[in-house]
């Protein structure tokens, strides 16, 4: 049915849903702010300054975006390398989330960079090989390509291009191994970026182990994001699922929760190795130390026990809720390293401008809309009838 041909009251009823209205408002304001940013400079719409050259857009959009998109490489490795094939129903949504996550990280970066049209420079023009950022640039570029290859079977099934579908399926294992290598390196590289700032980052967060922390916590972020995202998708896109699906998904969620619990436990102790290495025990009794304890106990150890308890007692609801807390914990950690504990002692601390928040909200919104658009069309949550055996 052509919706535009509806009589106007009906048309209004169909489109004027609260979701659509809020979405449209965020996007409209976001668009205006982005135009302002590109005509009048970053200073007009952000609270960035010389002491705080990176704010919300790097701290949240890029650092959290990349960490929370880790589900793609985690699940691809789980299924294709570790051979846990029962996780297959969660694989495609995870890879799609990963691909869109990275894609919109790059979009956010385009807004944040001073001269975004030069984004391809490190890949095609001038090579600063001594820079950790150079590695990040290359890896995000390569990993986006790899993720496109990993997701393309769904696209080809949708388009019914059988030959290409069969050809690209042969690349699966190679793409998974490449994805594992690239993710390990750039997830940890995002932590390594801050190794250059020993005098600026609070000693409780600054440690030579930063790359290890970022990598290990990306595993946690990947596992818990898949749980969170599966819970949301299976509520929102109910019509896409077969009836037996729900119980099967619950089993998988319990399994992922258990895995996340184990990694959280290891991560908890690693964090203390960091404190011990820097001899920073005395700093725990300061306000920043208290905040560190909140991160390490409230967002690491407590979720670790709750996830273990939830998966042991087969309480999928508890695992889902705790997964969300864990995801928030990862966000807290990334913001701590990049914004909160960075120049923590500066007299005028950075606080994001409301326009920065709107742009971030806009980018997240466009990400969700794209996800919805694809899931409604392509075989992501459900197998394509013609390709059932291959899914």
């Amino acid at each position: 049915m052509n919706r535009l041909a509806l009589p106007s009251p009906l048309f209004k009823r169909e489109w004027l849903t609260p979701f659509n209205v809020i979405t449209a408002a965020i996007l409209a304001v976001g668009f205006i702010i982005v135009v302002m940013r590109f005509t009048m400079g970053l200073g007009t719409v952000t609270n960035l300054s010389n002491p705080y050259p990176w704010g919300l857009w790097i701290g949240f959009d890029v650092l959290c975006g990349v960490a929370l998109a880790a589900g793609g490489y985690i699940l691809a490795s789980t299924v294709y390398l570790f051979g846990l094939k029962q996780y297959r129903p969660l694989l495609r949504p995870a890879i799609l989330t990963g691909f869109l996550g990275y894609f919109f990280v790059v979009v956010a970066l385009l807004v944040d960079l001073g001269r975004p049209w030069r984004l391809p420079y490190p890949v095609f023009y001038s090579y600063g090989v001594s820079s950790v950022m150079f590695l990040v640039a290359w890896h995000v570029f390569l990993y986006l390509t790899v993720q496109f290859i990993e997701f393309s079977p769904a696209v080809f099934e949708w388009l019914n291009w059988k030959k290409l579908r069969a050809w690209v399926a042969k690349l699966t294992v190679a793409a998974t191994i490449a994805g594992l290598i690239l993710s390990t390196l750039h997830q940890s590289a995002l932590g390594a970026l801050f190794l250059l700032a020993p005098t600026k980052l609070h000693p409780l967060w600054y440690t030579p182990l930063l790359p290890v922390f970022f990598f290990v916590s990306s595993i946690i972020a990947g596992l818990t994001m898949v749980v969170f995202e599966a819970s949301v998708s299976h509520r929102v896109f109910k019509d896409q699922l077969e009836p037996h699906h729900a119980t099967q998904i619950n089993d998988l969620i319990l399994g992922l929760g258990k895995a996340a619990s184990i990694v959280l436990f290891a991560y908890f102790w690693l964090k203390w190795v960091g404190v011990a290495r820097g001899h920073n025990w005395d700093l725990l009794a300061t306000p920043m130390g208290l905040w560190f304890l909140v991160e390490v106990f409230g967002f690491v150890l407590v979720p670790c026990f709750l996830l273990a308890w939830g998966s042991r007692t087969r309480n999928a609801g508890l695992v889902r809720a705790t997964a969300l807390v864990t995801v928030v914990g990862i966000i807290v950690n990334r913001l701590n390293v990049s914004v909160i504990a960075f120049r923590w002692n500066y007299e005028q601390p950075y606080w994001p401008h409301w326009m920065e928040l709107v742009v971030t909200a806009s980018i997240v919104t466009v990400g969700i809309l794209t996800f919805r658009w694809i899931v409604k069309r392509m075989p992501v949550l459900r197998p394509h009838p013609d390709f059932e055996g291959l899914y």
Partner: protein, 301 residues
């Protein structure tokens, strides 16, 4: 026998000596790069009268707007900015007894953190000592600002097409062996220019000849692996706005361990991933072989 033993001990002592010499030497920061041909400037805070001629010469030389303050008659920048690559600041304690001027500009590190951070080589160190910025390469990521321990690079937040701005050590002049603009402008000789090694000698001899005038330290000789901007002062350097907690280690060295591990991770993960996949595939094949005949026997024809 005894002789042999004595020789053995001697050898042992010599070895131990050389080993300890090697292991102890890091306390004396090794120069991160060859400093031959490296030019430098020495700022003597005790000779500075705070006239800001250096500041003005710099701005005039690079066509930069003054930052007019208050009633519009006084140019008074308080820190480095995109229109002020060098600035004279003043420290004074609460009693007003101890005070000092201090000049701020790019320190021109021997192993610059900003250049190691730059993913497109827009920031590079020249052999003459200058750390230069190439606006035609910069993508505006501002990682150099995160990396610089002295917080020198500034960013044009108010421009649609922004650049990083920082003191270029008057590369146009210094690369030809001429003194930079701020040095030329100084009326009291508080800033001097020359070969870094010679300036260090000069700085030390000033401390020796007037030990009560100076804090006994040449700032920049070793800090962050050494810098081409050297400082003498009569007031502790902690009070003059230099970063706290900065060591003599070169900052780029802090990421070298990570960058060196990259090829290891690639090779080992590739081997591990392939091996694991092969192992799992084989396991599945074997279980299939075991399961399938068993099923045949049970319900077989």
């Amino acid at each position: 026998m005894i002789l042999q033993r004595r020789e053995f001990l001697k050898l042992g002592a010599a070895t131990a000596g050389s080993v300890s010499a090697v292991t102890l030497s890091p306390t004396e920061a090794r120069p991160a790069v060859n400093t031959e041909g490296c030019k430098a400037m020495l700022y003597d805070a005790t000779k500075c009268i705070g006239c800001r001629a250096c500041q003005t010469a710099c701005r005039l030389g690079f066509d930069m707007e003054p930052s007019i303050n208050g009633d519009g008659l006084y140019d008074e920048p308080s820190d480095l900015s995109t229109t002020c690559p060098t600035v004279i600041r003043q420290y004074q304690d609460e009693q007003g007894e101890e005070w000092s001027f201090v000049k701020r500009q790019c320190m021109h590190c021997l192993d610059p953190a900003c250049a190691s951070a730059c993913l497109v080589n827009a920031l590079e160190r020249d052999d003459c000592g200058a750390v230069t910025y190439d606006v035609d390469k910069c993508i505006g990521c501002r990682y150099c600002m995160i990396a610089c321990p002295f917080e020198v690079p500034t960013f044009e937040y108010e421009k649609a097409i922004p650049s990083i701005v920082k003191c270029p050590f008057c590369f146009d002049l210094v690369s030809q062996g001429k003194a930079p603009r701020c040095v030329e402008a100084c009326p009291t000789g508080a800033i001097t220019f020359g070969d870094r090694d010679e300036l260090l000698e000069d700085a030390r001899s000033r401390i020796y000849s007037e030990p009560n005038r100076y804090v006994h330290h040449v700032y920049g000789e070793h800090e962050a692996g050494g810098t081409a901007a050297l400082y003498l002062a009569g007031v502790s350097f902690d009070k003059l706005g230099f970063p706290k907690g900065l060591t003599n280690k070169s900052i780029p060295d802090l990421t070298k361990g990570f960058l060196n591990s990259v090829p290891l991770v690639i090779i080992l993960w590739a081997a591990f991933g392939t091996g694991l996949h092969w192992f799992v595939q084989r396991r599945d094949e074997l279980t299939e072989r075991e399961v399938v005949p068993a099923e045949r026997e049970e319900g077989g024809p």
